[in-house]
Symmetry: C2
Subunit: 386 residues, 2 copies
């Protein structure tokens, strides 16, 4: 029998957005994307795996609920990890025949546009890789689970290369800079809703590829240039440049959604108000101090430097009052600072709870094995929670 | 002294959108656009003009309020009409020296994205043209007042040619088909707000031209093809084709706004809900029966055929309940028809008054001189209302 392996893995929030596949089964994207990986101490997926000769079938429990193991994406990940292990001869053949149990949970709401599937598949694939002692890069296997999961396989700032090979072998993630490179970089996630989204990313991308004429131009002309520019901005720690490209690319991704037929709209009035407020804040500040970016949902992710966090939190609290102010900001601690009067005029306070809560986090490391024994599976290889 | 000339002129709602100027002073667009002219019996601007030797200065009253005549756009229109009259020798030189009084009003809210300036300038220029007996096409002069005003100079379906001449002489409107060509074509304008918009069209266009990479692609590749296709659809009275292009072009125009930096956002959650509902309605109907289009504001304009109006009004009443249901739909009369149960499931009724009221109208004629004596100026050439 195998020991139980437990891994935690981070979410990542893209600054150059992935939208559109060139191969739906292999999850190969039409364009490169770039993201920052966020600290696992604040948001993470946690996954325990083990393989036993006595297991009758592969089993998976997600957030406390038994799910089917027979999703194509899950099957693809397990098959490819085993194939890699066989190629590397990292474990013996018997071991590869044993069935596996997987138990996974997120410490944040699923499918609310908070990159839960990215963290989840990065976690699963990393845990399986450790179980089968696979040593090579597994980002292309995480990609088979959820495209953006490949970026959560590394910490710091990460590039997902679209690649050109039909088999996807060159569609992998690489690290641009590790988490220690730009330690001042933090993030505030403004949770505007935690309901499931109307159009899944998979469907939204498919419609965009089939119908948006602007998507073609974005992929061919806009993204390649932006990718090079933002990598340079990251390497040079040029925050205004990083922030400007981040905001422009978020807006262009949502523009392409709107140009799809029927249109795919993920931003709401609240999202657009956040965008408006950040532009005004930067304008009054005289330089770009905060960047917003929106994934396939209404939540804003703000990237900003540590020194600007107290003022920006005060601004958000002013405009978006909460019925539960003590629990409004979770995650990292930061100093309190009253809002400078010059920023008071940006926008009147809105009605309560348009922003439900804020997660304060920072750029962090990639997946990590947990060695304190806090597994999600018990000695028998069954979920502890059941 | 001259007689008083009074003209009414229509609004027009574009189906291929104008967004972006190649010359800001001459108001020359980067792309062709196409619109339908809407019936003046429902919505119109009304303008009275006269010229008198005893007037000390040019004077203008808009919606009951004296305004400055020294706006560059107003000056350009008056100067060019007089130059045209001089070239055509249509009036004597003394007449051209006399100062003019202009009194104008709209029978609908100004600057709420209801094309008020288009109707206003088309009305002014047509009235001045009649005053100075100008016989030639004046669409290029209306264009100097407000770009889209040139399309309100004709009835039916109208194309505004971008033109290529630096002086704008070929940036004129031409009629695609007159109002009698497709008499079944009607429109429902869903007024979601009548407050002034955040970013004026002029500023929004300038930002788009300076910053949107997608705008270039739209202008070069998308609009030329769509323009030809929609003109053919109009000529062949192919409603589904007309409607599909109309919706796609509206979405692309707003996509370009979102791709601008900072982004220009005119649609709201209510606008997107209307779009969603129309797509579902068409899907359930098994063919495209309604098209939405949105200008630089949250209001939807729905194009549809007369036979489908009762059902669509019932759908709108179901989803957007009004606190004043008797006055919810204004304009043309239509039969009442209960909503088919199959459409009930499209969307739950929303909270009251998200849509304030609906204007039911149809495609109509161009500007018309009023000969019943109901001038806005009295015998002395001063506003009657004062």
């Amino acid at each position: 029998m195998s020991e139980i392996i437990t891994v935690i893995a981070p979410v990542n929030i893209a600054v150059i957005k992935y939208w559109g596949k060139r191969d739906e089964d292999l999850i190969l994207p039409l364009n490169d994307s770039v993201s920052a990986t966020l600290d696992t101490s604040i948001m993470c997926a946690k996954t325990s795996v083990c393989a036993r000769p006595e297991f009758k079938e592969d089993g998976i429990w997600l957030n406390g609920k038994k799910e089917s193991f027979y999703s194509p994406r899950l099957q693809n990940c397990l098959r490819e990890i085993k194939a890699r292990a066989a190629a590397e001869k990292s474990v013996n053949e018997d071991f590869l025949q044993w069935k596996v149990h997987v138990c996974s949970e997120n410490n944040f709401p699923t499918a609310a546009g908070l990159a839960s599937s990215a963290a989840g598949y990065a976690c699963l694939v990393t845990a399986l890789a450790k179980l089968y002692k696979v040593k090579s890069d597994v980002s292309s296997i995480a990609r088979l689970g959820s495209g953006s999961a490949c970026r959560s396989v590394y910490g710091g700032f990460v590039r997902w290369h679209a690649g050109t090979n039909p088999d996807g072998s060159d569609s992998v993630a690489t690290q641009i800079a590790d988490q220690a490179h730009w330690p001042e970089m933090q993030a505030l996630i403004l949770v505007a809703g935690d309901t499931k989204k109307k159009t899944s990313s998979t469907v939204g991308m498919r419609i965009a590829v089939e119908t948006s004429e602007l998507l073609k131009h974005r992929i061919k002309h806009c993204v390649p240039q932006r990718t090079e520019e933002i990598i340079q901005a990251i390497k040079e720690k040029d925050f205004p440049k990083f922030a400007e490209i981040t905001m422009k690319d978020s807006n262009q991704f949502h523009a392409v959604g709107l140009d799809s037929y029927p249109p795919c709209v993920y931003m709401t009035d609240v999202s657009h108000l956040v965008s408006y407020v950040i532009h005004k804040y930067n304008e009054i500040s005289g330089s770009i101090k905060v960047a917003y970016t929106f994934d396939a949902g209404p939540n804003a992710c703000l990237y900003l430097l540590e020194k600007d966090v107290p003022q920006v939190i005060s601004l958000i609290k002013h405009i978006f009052p909460s019925s539960n102010p003590d629990k409004f900001v979770t995650g990292l601690q930061s100093k309190e600072e009253p809002l400078s009067p010059v920023f008071m005029s940006i926008c009147e306070p809105q009605k309560q709870d348009l922003i439900k809560y804020v997660i304060h986090t920072k750029v962090g490391d990639g997946p990590t094995e947990i060695t304190d024994g806090s597994h999600l599976l018990n000695e028998a290889g069954l979920p502890k929670a059941e």
